[in-house]
């Protein structure tokens, strides 16, 4: 069975539809110069009152859409019971500055259908068969046949061992898991007192996979669309640069070439466009050097890493941490590794992510510049809130949010003729978008540029697999030199903010990497920290 977030992937469902309609709706709203208080009318242009499409009645749809609009403005949800208008405090969203604040990922309680958390259930397909292997294999005697009818599972006894599920000749027994919780690789989703899904924000690492896995679209992230629009509408000199994450290629349709995407960004008001693969090159060089030195016996680096986090590690460190180097570009992976494996915290590189490195390149040359990162990633929204990173990245958008700006501004990327995309980054840097690409780039650079011997690489995508990988390293089952973790299935190309199917996206990224001027990185900053 594919993972829960793979099952709906690539389908245009009513959940996709409502999300995109809201993005387009608020973009048009802002572009047309409407006043903040007019926002109370906006939900009515998105849903059809009197014609409920998804829920029991229009009033429920209305209250859900109100919450979606709030989040899209970058504002907190409104307290349902207080009957607060959508417009409460909305004025503060009409700014070029940052209004986004944690939590990034939110449950819209009115939209949550309280699906069962995790239950093994007998479906109607049960034939009450003579063999009834289900009750025979059940180790806790949880299955009975009340009044000689269909099998019944006593939930108090059931331990979810799945033996009955496998034994039933009719496949009539199934395990039903809440999709949001199943998608969460760090077990951050539980139920509140009323049975609605609730996110434990201390556990959440903002990967955002729950937002695309809930079949009722009840979980949503906040956006910075409105603030970015204000920057784009501002005076020429304060317009932002667009930083395109390496996974951008092909995201806006097969006829929208990288050059056309860059031209489209300039057409909607961005001052310039740089690819984040450039910052990826900085990271590759930094880590390749470090790992090559380490391999050459310069053990100083290992100690420096451990020293940096010694305070947090000392108490829980069981044995000496293995000397692997962990990649640092995926913030959800970094948070997961540090929280769940404190003994390994020092192994994860302390370097800035490619997003921050690229922003730094721009701001070094032009200190007043504003920078908007555009990517597949929800975790980047949280990363950019970190106090020490705030000066570098002003705002974060997803590809989906950007596409809404193109539509609202009537920019057809497919109609933009052939246009150049400057070949700045290396082919390995462009490959960061696909799982395996980061470790691959570091290993190849370490070997070819810095003379390291062949490296042992371990890699995993999805946080559950990342955790398994780290458990195995901890248990001594493997001892890699280099470890890559990615929260999203398939890497960044599988992120929640993407628009394109996984296979097509991977192949587009590969083609674009092939067009780079060099294979190995030649970063401008020379790998300085």
């Amino acid at each position: 069975m594919p993972e829960v977030f793979e099952r709906m992937r690539g389908l245009y469902t009513p959940c996709t539809d409502i999300r995109r309609k809201i993005f387009i709706g608020i973009t048009r709203f802002v572009l047309s110069g409407k006043k903040p208080e007019d926002i109370d009318y906006l939900p009515f242009s998105i849903i059809d009152m009197g014609k409920p499409t998804y829920r029991c009645c229009s009033y429920k749809e209305l209250s859900i859409v109100r919450q979606r609009v709030r989040l899209a403005f970058g504002l907190p949800l409104i307290e349902e019971r207080n009957n607060t208008p959508v417009s409460a405090g909305i004025g503060q969203a009409f700014t070029r500055s940052k209004v986004l604040a944690a939590p990034i990922v939110n449950v819209i309680t009115a939209a949550c259908e309280k699906c069962p958390e995790d239950k093994v259930i007998v479906t109607n397909m049960c034939q009450t068969c003579m063999a009834h292997p289900c009750s025979i294999v059940c180790p806790v005697n949880a299955i009975s046949f009340p009044e000689g009818g269909q099998a019944f599972i006593d939930q108090k006894k059931c331990i979810k061992c799945m033996k009955c599920v496998k034994a039933c000749p009719y496949q009539s027994i199934t395990r039903m898991v809440r999709p949001c919780a199943a998608a969460c690789g760090v077990d951050a989703i539980h139920s509140d007192a009323d049975g609605y899904a609730a996110i434990d924000q201390d556990k959440c690492v903002n990967c955002g996979l729950c937002t695309v896995s809930c079949p009722f679209a009840a979980i949503s992230d906040k956006t910075e669309l409105v603030q970015v629009l204000h920057q784009l509408m501002g005076p020429e000199e304060s317009r932002p640069y667009a930083l395109l994450a390496p996974s951008f290629v092909g995201q806006f349709g097969r006829l929208a070439s990288p050059g056309a995407i860059a031209a489209g960004l300039r057409a909607v008001g961005f001052r310039g466009v740089r690819e984040v693969a450039l910052g990826a090159d900085c990271d590759t060089i930094l880590l390749a050097k470090r790992i090559a030195e380490r391999k050459a016996g310069a053990a100083g680096i290992v100690e420096a890493d451990e020293g940096a986090s010694a305070a947090g590690v000392a108490a829980s460190a069981p044995a000496a941490p293995r000397a692997f180097l962990g990649t640092s570009c995926c913030p959800s992976w970094v948070m997961t590794a540090r929280r769940h494996f404190p003994a390994f915290a020092g192994n994860i590189a302390e370097s800035f992510t490619p997003m921050v490195e690229t922003a730094r390149l721009i701001k070094e040359k032009d200190p007043g510049a504003r920078v908007v990162f555009i990517g597949p990633c929800i975790a980047k929204k949280a990363e950019a809130l970190e106090p020490e990173l705030r000066p570098f990245v002003d705002h974060v958008l997803t590809f989906e949010e950007l596409a809404a700006i193109f539509v609202a501004k009537d920019i057809d990327l497919a109609a933009i003729g052939p246009s150049e995309f400057p070949a700045e980054a290396s082919s390995l840097g462009r490959g960061y978008a696909v799982a395996g690409g980061v470790a691959g780039a570091i290993a190849e650079t370490a070997e070819k540029k810095y003379g390291a011997p062949p490296l042992a690489v371990a890699k995993a995508d999805t946080l559950r697999n990342c955790r398994t990988m780290l458990s195995e390293i901890k248990a001594g089952k493997s001892s890699p030199d280099l470890v890559e973790g990615m929260a999203c299935p398939g890497g960044c190309v599988g992120g929640p903010g993407t628009l394109m199917g996984l296979a097509a996206a991977k192949s587009e990224v590969g083609k674009f990497a092939g067009l780079a001027a060099t294979r190995l990185p030649e970063c401008e900053c020379g790998g300085e920290e």
């Binding site: 995109r20 349709g253 097969r254 006829l255 929208a256 596409a403 539509v407 057809d412 628009l499």
Partner: protein, 95 residues
């Protein structure tokens, strides 16, 4: 038999409204290979009306606005069945 031409607009408006997932699904559907020819096209003379009518798909001669995969597949089936089974008789029954 001539394959049925299915043209899917992948202009920005149509892509964003689901055109891309329609074309990907049609291309990935092995059952359609042979009797359907899928083609990605640019904005059809603003048929999309700024996205309000997106996505736009044509199946044979028929133009479908606000297309969904279900509707497109239904239309393909409607046009393909007589080709496969022979023309229906007067009462519209399949031959």
């Amino acid at each position: 038999m001539e394959p049925i031409k299915v043209r899917v607009c992948v202009g920005t408006n149509c892509c964003f409204a689901g055109g891309e997932s329609i074309i990907e699904a049609l291309e990935d559907d092995a059952d359609l290979a042979g009797f359907v020819k899928v083609e990605a096209i640019r904005c059809l003379d603003k048929t999309c009306a700024g996205g309000a009518e997106s996505p736009v798909v044509t199946v044979g001669e028929r133009l479908i606005k606000r297309a969904t995969l279900e509707v497109v597949m239904e239309e393909i089936e409607r046009q393909a069945l007589p080709l496969i089974l022979g023309a229906p008789d007067e009462e519209g029954r399949d031959a």
